[in-house]
């Protein structure tokens, strides 16, 4: 997630990315649709319709087909993310350690549910059911590239408060 907050997608970069994706036959081309979308999603934080069209052209398929994947797999986003991106672990260790309270607090206090962005555009959250792999620090979130563990509703709110300050003083938007 090199640019978690790219609002626009530079299609020349997408074309450049596609030029590295080569395939021997139609079958391999089909196998690479998911991969191509993952690369774009990883790079820009989301996949636009225009980017999906480039993928479809490059791999010899239709944009409908590409969109069917974008809307099925939970990792993809079809709209830009906020300035910050937070994965909220809701795996079982985190659940038994109280991640439900974090999810509820995000919804009640910050108005965001899974996949949504706060009204000020500061933060997009994604609730993950799978385990983020650091269960002994449950409950835990991954904010941009950093993990924050052993959270309570209060420490999570502090974290988000600090983030908002940093984002607004940094003048990102």
């Amino acid at each position: 997630m090199s640019h978690p907050s790219s609002q626009t997608i530079d299609l020349d970069v997408v074309r450049e990315m596609m030029s590295h994706i080569t395939y021997a036959d139609h079958q391999e081309g089909q196998e690479l649709i998911l991969f191509a979308l993952q690369e774009i999603n990883e790079h820009f934080g989301w996949v636009s319709l225009e980017a999906a069209e480039i993928v479809a052209d490059h791999l010899g398929t239709t944009v409908n087909r590409v969109y069917a994947l974008l809307t099925f797999y939970a990792d993809f986003r079809t709209a830009p993310r906020g300035d910050n991106f937070m994965l909220v672990c809701h795996g079982m260790s985190c659940y038994v350690a109280g991640s439900m309270r974090l999810v509820q607090s995000l919804r009640d206090r910050h108005g965001v549910s899974d996949g949504e962005t706060t009204a000020d555009g500061a933060l997009t959250i994604q609730v993950v059911d799978g385990c983020l792999g650091i269960c002994d620090r449950a409950p835990l979130v991954k904010l941009n590239q950093e993990f924050h563990g052993e959270l309570t509703v209060e420490t999570l709110n502090d974290l988000i408060g600090r983030l908002r300050l940093a984002t607004s003083s940094g003048g990102a938007r």
């Binding site: 939970a74 038994v96 350690a97 385990c131 792999g133 002994d136």
Partner: protein
């Protein structure tokens, strides 16, 4: 053959790797690698190793390694990375072999501890030495309760080798089984060993791998494929991820052996997309193996061709189901189909496909090397070998361990994981991921194997267990698991798509204190429909955790529906509260 692409997850290629063209060349490469490896343990060697995997990196192990590198720059010390060793509770750890000393492991090292650590001022943080003998008052690491009860076969190299070094792996035996399969054994002989081992699938269902491989080999259509299922989307399992992060060559070798044994042209590894480090390390392993000449046409002059492709999932749990996984590889939505035909007849691209879980395949190199009888001598009659197990929840020492099949569950929880954390009271342990019910205190003497837990409504499944304490409400926990299944349902068939939400509505009624005893019966009826009528394994087991919770914590469910009481205070019971307030 394609390994993926040089964009975000580019493996660092080792340009120094030669291209080997014969078994003899491989053997001399191995001898050189062994020489290098043994140089780490000569008496005056000075080696500092930091364990880096996705768990320890999240706790700063990467910064610890960077600090160590910085401090030791310009000295004779060798600074290296290994993967984590499964003991999450000791992360980040550093292993230091000073001249004249055995390697000593220090636990919970912060970056700021590094100067003191290297100046040997943190003796009190030493928790074990590598080897059989104690050093001063430091016991051997393997004598610690966390390690003592383990039987580390799959994990033998995990936390030991640098997972990004093919030389380390080969020095420790990687690809020796593959050599036998390429040059010494017939396909049938390999399958025979797997059959004798009675290796059962580790992906959940426990189907014998030997039988699957034999039908795969018999299938006549071409090309054929092997698919390694490394999707691991369950909310409480991370064993396959750790194999990728800790010893990717073992898994790769297993996949390559499977390809040769069943006559497959290409092996696929489908890895859960949420695990970037697992993907990165496996890609690196495959790229190095290809550069060495272990993948490709006419491998080492054996006349055998083996291809490999790596694919990453997109965050849909259902893609772990065999047929859905294959659709996902084919670039469509991953939704299961009805069977037959089974995938060994018609799988990926409608061709015969042998699909196995990563842990299953990671067992293969040792089975080939030591024989199926050796493998079958471990464990119990019907469940041979070892099992990777993770326990989560409020236990003292969380982590990934490998135990012999048949080890009593209680010993695992109490001895290896150290029992409950202070201040927490054991209530139960959820088994079988989200596919079975919990076990209670009185069931804990059950042996860990494929079949024994069924009697108590539990299941080994993929070996992920979650201990919960008395602050966890059984009703709410059951809802959490139902919600997982509802969310992850692919919506292809009606019983699963509509039945699971219907059950959640009932539980929510109960959680709000508006349920009645009739609701419990309604849950059972609806569950029966979902279980009997759903198309795939997800729906067929989706209500099991709920039914298990209802059975094991019946009183608690009754309290909710009869008395409007949630003893844990978790459920948003409102009607009675407002009723009381109104009085």
């Amino acid at each position: 053959m394609t390994h993926g692409h040089p964009l975000t997850l580019t493996p660092k290629l080792a340009p120094s790797l030669p291209n080997l063209t014969s078994r003899a060349e491989f053997e001399s490469f191995r001898e050189e690698a062994e020489r290098q490896w043994s140089s780490y343990s000569t008496p005056d060697a000075w080696v500092v190793t930091v364990g880096l995997d996705s768990s320890s990196i999240g706790k700063g192990a990467g910064d610890v390694l960077a600090r160590v590198r910085e401090q030791l720059a310009g000295t004779d010390a060798v600074v290296r990375q290994a993967s984590g060793n499964g003991a999450n509770w000791m992360e980040p750890w550093v292993e230091i072999k000073r001249p004249g000393q055995p390697p000593i492991v220090y636990a919970n090292i912060e970056p700021s501890d590094v100067p003191d650590l290297l100046a040997d001022r943190l003796g009190h943080r030493a928790i074990g030495v590598i080897g059989d003998a104690p050093y001063g008052d430091i016991p051997p690491l393997q004598e610690l309760p966390f390690f003592k009860l383990q039987k580390r076969i799959l994990l033998r190299n995990v936390g030991v080798i640098d997972p990004e070094s093919i030389e380390d792996a080969i020095a420790r035996g990687a690809y020796s089984g593959y050599m036998k399969v390429l040059f010494d054994l017939s396909q049938d002989e390999v399958i025979e060993e797997v059959t004798r081992a009675n290796l059962r699938g580790r992906g959940g269902a426990g189907f014998p791998a030997g039988i699957k491989w034999a039908s795969g080999k018999r299938a006549r259509a071409r090309p054929k494929y092997v698919v390694c299922n490394s999707h691991e989307g369950e909310p409480n399992v991370y064993k396959d991820r750790r194999i990728h992060e800790g010893d990717p060559h073992r898994l790769l070798e297993g996949i390559l052996i499977a390809c040769v044994a069943v006559g497959a042209d290409i092996g696929y590894n489908y890895i859960g997309g949420e695990y970037p480090l697992a993907i990165q390390r496996f890609r690196k392993a495959a790229a190095d193996a290809e550069r060495l000449g272990l993948i490709g046409k006419n491998v080492l002059g054996s006349g055998k061709d083996v291809g490999l492709r790596i694919r990453a999932g997109g965050g849909a749990y259902i893609c772990g189901e065999g047929s859905a996984l294959m659709y996902s590889i084919m670039g469509v939505r991953g939704q299961p189909r009805t069977k037959p035909p089974r995938s060994v007849e018609e799988g990926l691209w409608k061709r015969p496909t042998v699909a196995n879980n990563s842990e299953t395949l990671a067992n293969i190199p040792d089975i080939v090397n030591n024989g199926g009888d050796w493998y079958a001598s471990m464990g119990t009659g019907k469940s041979t070998g070892t099992k990777l197990v993770t326990v989560m929840g409020p236990v003292k020492r969380m982590g990934l361990v490998e135990v012999e099949m048949g080890t009593p569950f209680r010993r695992v929880i109490e001895d290896i994981w150290g029992g409950m954390k202070d201040g927490h009271t054991f209530k139960g342990v959820q088994t079988g991921g989200i596919s079975a019910g919990p076990l209670l205190e009185q069931h804990l003497d059950v042996p860990l194997d494929f079949d024994s837990m069924a009697e108590y409504g539990g299941m080994l499944g993929s070996g992920g267990f979650v201990v919960y304490d008395d602050t966890t409400c059984a009703v709410d926990y059951a809802r959490y698991m139902m919600a997982f299944n509802r969310y992850e349902s692919c919506s292809k068939c009606v019983p699963c798509r509509l039945g699971n939400p219907a059950i959640i509505e009932i539980i929510d009624r109960i959680r709000l204190g508006r349920g009645s005893e009739a609701d419990l019966a309604l849950i059972e009826r609806t569950s029966k429909h979902i279980i009997e009528l759903s198309l795939c394994g997800l729906g067929q087991v989706a209500p099991m955790p709920l039914l298990g919770m209802m059975q094991k914590h019946h009183e608690e469910f009754l309290e909710h529906v009869r008395d409007g009481v949630c003893r844990c205070g978790t459920c948003p019971i409102e009607s009675r509260v407002t009723a009381v307030a109104a009085d």
